[in-house]
């Protein structure tokens, strides 16, 4: 019955296309259609960004050891849940709340706590605020998951819990407010289209603070300062992770257009692809040239570094510049990984190199490559050094990197330092050797692969 009527309806629609539109007068207006399209795209983009968590799960799990697999993977889902509640209750209000007076608003937003949005968009909105919230929340969760890189394989579950509370409610929202929420750096014209600084650098510096306070994993460095290689247990996971992140990144960058309009978000997607490609290619080649072996791990990090770098600049630069930004990011991530190892910072999933070094580079790259036409189109800041803008934009970018970086690092360090003093950050040596699956959760992620009695497996 239903099938028959659907068939009939379909046939009628083919014969009389105009029937699809109801009679004049009570149909949607153009503005409403525009809003609807925006809403649809932003929600799709938000879902893509949320799917990037799948990438982080596989990336972090694949790059670490079997005995921690269940913990590493599972805690990401838990903290995504926790940060959603915290961001809903407090974080979103600090980032985008509009009730603060002008002088306060420069530093922090107020309002919209325990966010209770209107159920649909009202007249004149370009999208429903519900969808904007979901989209922004997904970004906050990404930044948090980046930070976990610095915690990997040795932090207590309680440290994850407390840090999520503070990071999701205060640290991340303040930086998001400064650049995206009408804060002082937005006024300054800092260009960070989709969050090289806001999301990636912030996460990376939280990771940096964590790894300094946690100290290297057992067995990473020898007494004489030489490093040991602690290989991840599954390179296939890591590769799939990069693909998931890469795909999700189209939501991250192209979604940041927060409109469909004339299709500018397509240009953003286009430069994003070029940047990622450049990063992957350059990283593999540089590792091959310098170390004599083409390193898969470095190549994967290169793809991510290309994505991180192009995130700030995807809407501001020409295609060739997107390629250059990606290529430089790929080389940079390789050098940065060696640098961190040299200064004896244990960074199991290269969060500081991928999201930190490449995040800085991507943000600064705007100061070099931003074109006048695209800057006018987006409406933020000025053209870069190579496009007649002089050093002004480069300086603005530099300031935003330094200030946001310093704040993110200092705030994270303070919070983690307090946690360390009060309850401790790191599991005991014995627990670390047994693995966090067992010590924090009571079961292995791969129960058939590891015996509970086998406490010596590193």
């Amino acid at each position: 019955m239903v099938k028959k009527s659907l068939l009939a309806l379909g046939a009628l629609l083919l014969l009389f296309p105009s029937m699809a539109f109801a009679a004049d007068g009570d149909g949607p207006t153009n503005t409403m259609l525009d809003m609807g399209l925006n809403a649809l795209w932003i929600l799709v983009a938000g879902v893509l960004v949320l799917l990037m968590q799948g990438g982080f799960i596989l990336l972090e799990t694949g790059s670490t050891r079997m005995k921690n697999a269940g913990h590493v993977a599972g805690k990401t889902i838990f903290t995504v849940g926790l940060v959603s509640l915290v961001y809903w209750a407090v974080g979103y209000g600090f980032a985008f709340g509009g009730d603060a007076g002008e002088s306060v608003n420069k530093w922090i937003g107020l309002g919209d706590f325990f966010f209770h949005p209107p159920i649909v968009a009202s007249d004149g909105d370009s999208y429903p605020s519900t969808i904007f919230f979901v989209f922004q929340l997904a970004f906050a969760a990404v930044s948090l998951s980046i930070a976990w890189g610095g915690f990997a394989e040795r932090a207590k579950l309680s440290a994850y819990l407390i840090f999520t509370l503070i990071f999701g409610s205060v640290i991340y929202p303040i930086i998001a407010h400064w650049i995206w929420g009408g804060g002082w750096l937005a006024d300054d014209g800092a260009q960070d289209y989709a969050g090289s600084t806001v999301v990636h650098l912030t996460g990376a510096l939280a990771a940096f603070a964590a790894t300094i306070l946690l100290k290297p994993r057992i067995g990473k460095f020898n007494k004489d300062g030489t490093a040991n290689e602690i290989l991840g247990h599954n390179q296939v996971f890591t590769s799939l992770a990069v693909l998931l992140l890469w795909v999700g990144w189209f939501g991250f960058n192209a979604g940041s257009a927060v409109s469909v309009g004339d299709g500018f978000f397509g240009y953003v997607a286009f430069t994003t692809q070029l940047g990622a490609a450049g990063g992957a290619v350059a990283a593999l080649l540089i590792s091959w040239l310098v170390k004599g072996k083409a390193d898969i791990g470095v190549m994967l990090n290169g793809a991510l570094a290309g994505l991180v770098a192009i995130t700030a600049s995807c809407a501001f630069v020409e295609p060739w510049a997107a390629v250059v930004i990606g290529l430089v990011a790929g080389v940079l991530v390789f050098l940065s990984q060696m640098f961190f190892e040299k200064i004896r910072v244990d960074d199991p999933i290269a969060a500081m190199s991928v999201h930190g070094a490449a995040g800085v580079w991507g943000t600064l790259a705007n100061g070099l490559f931003a074109t006048k036409q695209l800057v006018e189109r987006v409406g933020v800041g000025k053209a870069g050094l190579f496009y007649g803008g002089g050093g002004h934009q480069l300086w603005v970018q530099f300031v935003s990197v330094v200030v946001c970086g310093a704040f993110a690092f200092a705030a994270s360090f303070l919070v983690l330092w307090i946690i360390k003093q009060v309850i401790g950050l790191r599991v005991t040596e014995e627990q670390e050797i047994i693995g966090l699956d067992l010590s924090e959760h009571g079961n292995y992620g791969y129960p058939e692969m590891l015996k509970k009695s086998g406490t010596t497996s590193l």
């Binding site: 020898n222 004489d224 030489t226 040991n228 040239l289 170390k291 004599g292």
Partner: protein
């Protein structure tokens, strides 16, 4: 080595009645050589060291013959030759080299004789290997030893074995051929040793394509120098920053010149000797001979320097050299030598591709 010292050593060795005594003599001599290592020319020192090893090995074989006779098997029933492979075959043993050996004996005249000879030489091979272990030469991990029946055969048996390897150049068989290519008789009937070697060279000239298989078999050991001329050192672990001199410098050169020499029908087994002979046969230019000799001499020296005595007093060679402790001036000849090795490797690869096609 002063003549006086040398003569005393000779007498000591000749007078040694047990492997343990040989070991003591070896300890003294190696301690002495180790002390003068950094101040003396590597080639000279290596020659001395290898002559010394050779005399010890020969004496150990003689002691083993006596031991076998004491057990009632009598003197060697037919002429035989004790073969050295690996670094011993190439006269490039360090202070920590292990044993790679084989044995070839005259063909038996009948079934019963065959069994008797097999038993005798099997016992002799086992005894020599055991004695040399007692002298401090660890056995080859791949069991290329005179005590292994596969490597202790009459002349005709060796011939069939070699033919089989040449006919069926699987990865394992080619590895065996590479080992045999460095083999030489260290003791026993020299003419027999020569016949054994001649068979290998005759087979080789009948199977020129084996050269490519040999090259493929050795390609995984690349000269450890990068595109920018940088040293490719270990990145991780206790040995981080050190260069794998054995597999990243010495072995690639050994492989290159073994292949070139065997193809030119040169019977010499030491790498420096092969380089010289290749020059004499006009297969290498005078400049190439000079450069290759310099480069290989440096690798030999570093390889000797990489030998240490561990806590148990055992001589061990990691084959790794802490390149990060070298000064810039010291690094430059090393880089030059490695670049030459890399260039030669590439040339050989290109030539093989040209002659036999790519794969």
């Amino acid at each position: 080595m002063s003549n006086l010292h040398e003569e005393k050593r000779l007498l000591d060795i000749a007078g040694a009645g047990t492997p343990e005594r040989l070991r003591t003599i070896r300890e003294e001599e190696q301690n002495r050589l180790k002390a003068v290592l950094s101040s003396s020319p590597a080639v000279e020192l290596l020659r001395e060291l290898n002559q010394f090893h050779e005399r010890l090995i020969v004496r150990a074989i003689q002691l083993a013959e006596e031991e076998v006779a004491r057990r009632g098997l009598g003197a060697p029933p037919v002429p035989y030759a004790y073969l050295l492979f690996g670094s011993g075959g190439r006269r490039e043993q360090t202070m920590s080299s292990d044993q790679d050996s084989g044995l070839v004996y005259e063909d038996p005249s009948g079934e019963a004789e065959a069994e008797r000879l097999r038993h005798y030489f099997q016992t002799l091979g086992e005894t020599v290997v055991q004695f040399l272990i007692r002298c401090g030469y660890p056995p080859c991990e791949g069991n290329v030893l005179a005590s292994n029946p596969e490597w202790c055969l009459p002349v005709s048996g060796w011939g069939r074995k070699l033919d089989g390897w040449f006919e069926e150049p699987s990865w394992e068989n080619v590895r065996h051929l590479l080992i045999v290519a460095d083999g030489r008789a260290v003791y026993g009937d020299e003419a027999l040793g020569e016949r054994w070697r001649a068979r290998f060279h005759r087979d080789f000239s009948g199977h020129p394509v084996i050269a490519r298989r040999m090259m493929e078999n050795t390609l995984r050991h690349k000269a450890l120098v990068g595109v920018f001329g940088q040293l490719l050192t270990e990145r991780y672990g206790e040995a981080a920053g050190s260069l794998d001199i054995k597999y990243g410098a010495y072995i690639p050169m050994v492989n290159i010149f073994r292949l070139l020499a065997v193809r030119a029908g040169i019977r010499e087994t030491s790498t420096l000797g092969r380089i010289r002979a290749l020059g004499a046969a006009k297969r290498l230019s005078a400049k190439e001979v000079k450069e290759s000799t310099e480069a290989f001499t440096l690798f030999l020296k570093l390889r000797l320097l990489a030998v240490e005595k561990d806590e148990q007093g055992q001589w061990t060679g990691t084959g790794r050299f802490p390149a990060n402790r070298l000064t810039k001036e010291e690094k430059s000849p090393l880089k030059k030598a490695l670049k030459l090795a890399r260039k030669l490797q590439r040339q050989l690869e290109g030539e093989m591709r040209y002659r036999f096609g790519g794969r």
